[in-house]
């Protein structure tokens, strides 16, 4: 019961209380990119959840090895990057084998792998093992952290996409703020909302 409670506490914390995209800025550019491609939002978020969960879990297990226990940030970076790269290559190798029997064209396969690479090598995925390490989470919490990162990303992308749709048809936006600047402002407001949950004093 204690494990389940800790699991959900870590999950909710990452998704809502401290949404990684809005309160930490992790994966912000990928979130904007995905929000502009509404058809790919779910798939991309699933990929993020998959890579962050697997990387977080493996990295947490690696930290049990005495040589890597209490290692510096520099050492952690080297280990986590190698783990993430291995996870990527193994996943791609498996998917390639599975796709051989499918009727996907070469272009579709390439496009899919490009997307896979973007989903695996970004700040939100690499940040999860670091957060797990800093927060001294256990294995179950590391999994919750990874899954939560995917859900947090999905929430962020959905909110950004909704804003994008409204901003696109709003002709009252000043000409200089059309497009990217207005979207940045909108994301800043969302960040403000999520930061407010943390109960921080923001202005003065």
């Amino acid at each position: 019961m204690k494990f389940i409670a800790a699991f959900f506490a870590a999950f909710i914390y990452v998704c809502f209380t401290q949404n990684l995209v809005f309160t930490g800025g992790y994966g912000a550019s990928e979130a904007i990119r995905s929000a502009a491609r509404p058809k790919q939002i779910l798939l991309f978020s699933i990929m993020i959840a998959y890579f962050s969960t697997l990387t977080s879990l493996i990295c947490r297990v690696v930290l049990f090895i005495p040589a890597f226990k209490n290692s510096s940030t520099i050492m952690s970076l080297a280990v986590y990057t190698v783990v993430l790269t291995i996870v990527y290559f193994v996943s791609v190798a498996i998917i390639r084998t599975l796709l051989k029997s499918s009727d996907w064209s070469e272009i579709e396969v390439d496009k899919f792998f490009r997307q896979t690479a973007v989903a695996s090598f970004n700040t939100i995925v690499l940040a999860v093992p670091f957060i797990t390490e800093k927060a001294t989470y256990g294995v179950h919490e590391a999994i919750a952290q990874g899954l939560g990162a995917g859900v947090a990303f999905l929430i962020a992308v959905a909110l950004i996409h909704l804003g994008m749709r409204r901003l696109e048809v709003n002709s009252e936006t000043p000409l200089s703020f059309r497009g990217t600047p207005a979207l940045f402002m909108y994301i800043a407001i969302l960040c403000l909302a999520f930061t407010g949950i943390m109960g921080k004093s923001l202005f003065f």
Partner: protein, 356 residues
């Protein structure tokens, strides 16, 4: 933009953060002071140069999915020595940068530049583009770092300025987004003053536009007209401006029209031609104005008049307003003449397929 220098185009017009919305995490999260911004800029430029050179030299022939995995390793190989150096010379900064520092290894700017530039071009060009992209990114980092330190901590390069009351929000990601929003808007204003067409193009092709949607372009048109309507507009096909020229009307009597219909009159000799300037209300004909069968516009459609002078005038005026595109009455086309006979007068018909 044609006359602008290559450097200008690469650094400002293709700015990774303000135009491309790439590599936002370091900008909004860790770029909270000028010192941090400079360290980050230096590491980003070095990482970009190294990654692009390695890609340009060794990774061109490797499959893309393998290459994409190797960029992170390259990034890590540059960031690790940088971290060691920063830890040695400025341990406080190392602590301040926290877990964001190692995340520079997966900066999407590296992947984008390597895939777009290094794979496609030679070493020289690859080096140049990496420096330009690094400078563009660094320019934003330094500007954001300076502004956020000033407003968020009330200091510059660590020196407290007494007259500014710090607002902590600027040290958080939300402050970073606000600052880059204003910087992006300032860049737009600069481009608009320089080349309005390019500025419009920038909005229309913005990376933040929803893919497959033309709403941004329409919204831009709406803004140009000064419209405040938030409803999406239907796309209108642009019509080329008609040159100022006079329209010629061919007017014939009922008897002549009958002969034309029966085919016995190959060419109407007694047709009266009346020139009509665009500003005129209706054609001015010199003779046989009492009863006319057809009025033929040289530019296109015809109207039929049967006795009623007012309706005749209205029909001509309507045909003028609409600028008809299709000729209804053809002297060789018997079928169309019969069709005309059945109706009192024919409104000009637009070309098929034309929008609105």
């Amino acid at each position: 933009m044609n006359n602008q220098s290559y450097l200008f185009r690469e650094v400002l017009a293709k700015n990774p953060v303000l135009v491309g919305t790439i590599g936002l995490c370091p900008v909004v999260a860790i770029c909270t002071s000028l010192k941090a911004a400079l360290i980050m800029s230096l590491i980003t430029i070095v990482t970009l140069i190294v990654a692009q050179l390695i890609t340009s030299l060794f990774l061109k022939r490797i499959k893309q999915w393998v290459r994409l995995g190797l960029y992170t390793i390259i990034g890590m190989l540059v960031v690790v020595p940088s971290m060691i150096l920063v830890d040695k010379f400025s341990p406080d900064m190392m602590l301040a940068l926290g877990i964001y520092f190692p995340l520079l290894a997966v900066n999407p700017l590296i992947v984008r530049n390597c895939e777009r530039e290094a794979v496609e071009s030679n070493i020289g060009k690859s080096l140049l583009t990496s420096i330009c992209a690094g400078l563009g990114y660094s320019a934003v980092l330094v500007a954001v770092g300076f502004i956020r330190e000033l407003l968020g901590a009330g200091s510059v390069w660590g020196h407290k300025l007494g007259f500014i009351k710090p607002a902590e929000a600027f040290l958080m990601p939300l402050g970073g987004f606000i600052v880059i929003a204003y910087l992006a808007a300032a860049l737009r204003v600069y481009f608009r003053n320089l080349d309005p067409e390019f500025a419009d193009e920038l909005i229309a092709n913005s990376r933040t536009n929803i893919k497959g949607s033309n709403k941004a372009k329409l919204q831009l048109k709406g803004a140009k007209r000064g419209a405040v309507n938030t409803a999406p507009r239907r796309k209108k096909k642009k019509r080329k401006a008609e040159p100022e020229k006079k329209q010629t009307f061919e007017v014939m009597t009922l008897e002549e029209a009958e002969e034309l219909r029966s085919g016995s009159l190959p060419q109407v000799e007694s047709t009266v031609q009346a020139e009509l300037a665009p500003s005129d209300e209706m054609p001015k004909v010199s003779q046989n104005t009492s009863r006319f069968e057809f009025v033929t516009l040289d530019l296109g459609a015809e109207v039929k008049k049967s006795g009623d002078a007012e309706r005749f005038a209205a029909a001509v005026a309507a045909s003028k307003r609409e600028k008809p595109q299709r000729r209804i009455l053809n002297r060789q086309g018997q079928e169309k003449q019969v069709k005309l006979e059945r109706e009192e007068y024919i409104e000009p018909v637009e070309k098929e397929g034309e929008d609105e």
